[in-house]
Symmetry: C2
Subunit: 165 residues, 2 copies
């Protein structure tokens, strides 16, 4: 098994914006992120799930201090679309494990989620790629989450930070 | 601007499983992916969005041929939880752009979404990281999507596949 979890990271001071009941047809995502890019807003991660026939929820994270501007841009965008709602959450953090070949086994995701569960930390959003698994959690859970994940994957300061299974 | 989109990729023969109205409390994600790992199912990407107080939707992609087994594992898991529903989608593909420093500007996401919109391709799910933006689309849109994204980011076979902006 060639999975290598090499490090864990904590990103603080995040806010999330969830756009619910977004019309699920071509061009909508492009329009949203064009407006956001035009306002020079930096987006951390983007998640979208289809929620029903012709509807989707798009959730993305931004630095907390940009939230007022993001809200303004989104409200303007959806003025016409009465069904789309904008929900903002402050006080979030993102804990991630970074590695290589993580997609080969679900084992790494399971281990990370279990580590957070051990600390009774609620996982609010999840996004993954082959080299990174990120969980959005409450800001206050941040430092504890990082510690739990470090321990679960044996990533200590004194050790070589590669855990092979 | 140090964004470098170096390549695009198409992953075919994917199926997605969406678990809706999953209880949003610590330990649930760990339990789900423990059962999936125990069944030796390989998971491609995992997305989770909170959908209401104490509820979340978890959506993940798997290779199409593993879908029957995934369904079996999920049904068993949620036998007790009457509110959780399992939705499976076949005939999906994932088109991705890969690069470095992509999170610094939303511009890359916008450009990718716009390229797909040009081809009237509906983006069904989205997941991102600093080095990768992935869109789940209908399988039939796959080859066209890859071509559109290649063109949008100037990634040709004859050219050096790095597009700096
Ligand atoms: C919802 C949004 O992603 C839409 N499906 C699009 O293609 O732009
Ligand atoms: C829904 C699920 O992710 C849950 N919040 C957990 O922490 O496990």
């Amino acid at each position: 098994e060639r999975i290598v979890v090499s490090s864990a990271a904590l990103k603080k001071n995040l806010a999330s914006v969830s756009l619910r009941n977004v019309p699920d047809r071509p061009g909508v995502a492009a329009g949203i992120f064009h407006a956001i890019a035009a306002a020079n807003i930096i987006v951390d991660d983007i998640i979208q799930i289809e929620t029903g026939p012709k509807l989707a929820t798009i959730s993305f994270t931004v630095d907390l201090h940009t939230l007022p501007e993001v809200r303004r841009v989104c409200r303007k965008l959806f003025r016409q679309m009465k069904s789309t709602t904008i929900e903002c959450e402050k006080n979030l953090a993102k804990v991630s494990v970074i590695g290589l070949g993580m997609r080969v086994h679900t084992g790494v995701a399971e281990k990370m989620f279990a580590a957070l569960a051990e600390g009774s930390i609620n996982i609010r959003n999840i996004t993954t790629s082959e080299i990174k698994i990120s969980c959005i959690i409450d800001k206050l859970d941040g430092p504890k989450a990082l510690r739990l994940v470090h321990d679960a994957f044996d990533l200590g300061r004194k050790k070589k930070p590669i855990a092979k299974t």
